[in-house]
Symmetry: C2
């Protein structure tokens, strides 16, 4: 899968901002409304295309389709209704025990996609191995930050497509890992996003968005 840099028809600034202003962390989803297949596949592609340090993609995105799994997860997330009512639930997960084998796998992928001999990637590989050989807790913290880039990409992409989402940090990661069997797959849960469509009576969608003024958030030096 060589992704080529196709032409990019730039959106108007007003279009982008309309979607970002419309976006809200929806708490009450319409339990009947489904995301069209084309939009959902695009959001999975957006996750696949998300940038990460060195391009390593130290993550996996688990989409929980099984209603019985969703029901088991809900008590481990403060019984929040989004867990069961949103059309989709994505568990953003980070690779466990990230190390040389993960770097090797990535280098092989670079070699395959760019049709380069692995030997030509030796310098790049050494840099990545150096980063991956820091103390494990530092490596994990670094990789978790990459997962949050993917969360930002997902939330912005969903808004652009008119799909509602709710990012969620308030859940028991150990219980989620156990219920979904993530550690056995080599991953740990990091953060969640529910996605679907807001219920007409969602209390949050109609509230004014609270932001500090741009002049306090962005400073010029």
């Amino acid at each position: 899968m060589a992704i080529t840099a196709a032409a990019n028809a730039a959106a108007a600034p007003e279009t982008l901002l309309a979607s970002l202003r419309w976006r809200a962390a929806i708490k009450k989803f319409d339990a009947e409304k489904r995301i069209p297949a084309g939009a959902w596949t695009a959001l999975e592609d957006a996750l696949t295309l998300a940038p990460s340090s060195y391009g390593l993609q130290p993550w996996r995105f688990f989409v929980v389709d099984d209603p019985s799994l969703r029901a088991k997860l809900r008590p481990a997330a403060w019984d929040q209704a989004q867990i069961t009512d949103a059309d989709r639930l994505v568990v953003f997960a980070v690779k466990k025990d990230f190390g040389a084998a993960d770097v090797e796998r990535f280098v092989e992928r670079v070699s395959e996609v760019r049709r380069l001999p692995v030997a030509a990637l030796e310098g790049y590989k050494k840099m990545m191995l150096a980063s991956a050989s820091l103390p494990p807790e530092r490596v994990t913290a670094w990789l978790i930050r990459q997962v949050y880039i993917a969360l930002g990409v997902f939330l912005t992409s969903a808004a652009a497509l008119g799909v509602d989402a709710c990012p969620m940090e308030g859940f028991d990661k150990d219980k989620f890992d156990e219920i979904l069997g993530l550690p056995a797959k080599g991953y740990n849960s990091v953060v969640l996003a529910a996605a679907g469509y807001r219920a007409p009576d969602d209390a949050y969608a109609s509230q004014a968005k609270v932001r500090f003024p741009r002049e306090e958030v962005v400073a010029h030096l």
Copy 2:
């Protein structure tokens, strides 16, 4: 500034994906080409609108306009040319010593924007104070993750507007802090993004994007 949830004209999935495929971590920027004011203001607005835990916005985005500052920063970022050549350089920074005063400031802002008495926000405030009273290194790690959401929002938004960007973790944070005087302003640098337009001979824009197949990145349970 009450931001109301205006209508959102959803983009087509193909439009979103074209921009995400076009996006690349550009290393060689066109040093002459400027981002139009409307697009840049929209990107500052996108940063202002970025989501964060509780909506706390524990960040500031420093846009380094002064060429002499840029020249001083460059050696502290492995002498990478993007630091001086890109039209814009954003230093994503996290609030230092985040605590009760920051929560108070936010609660006052919620009260102001939503026209609610502060007393009505007592429960919300208690939750935030509990999170902010964890050990300082845990609080900082949590807030840095929020900054990475903003990075993901910025990179996706720039791509949507046809603006090139380059996220950068490889820099000396202490030196950046010192050169820009960030700690005195209450912030620490976290990550960078250069923004502008790719030079015609940028080596990265023309290379195939390396991603693992969607089937390996997204799993259904």
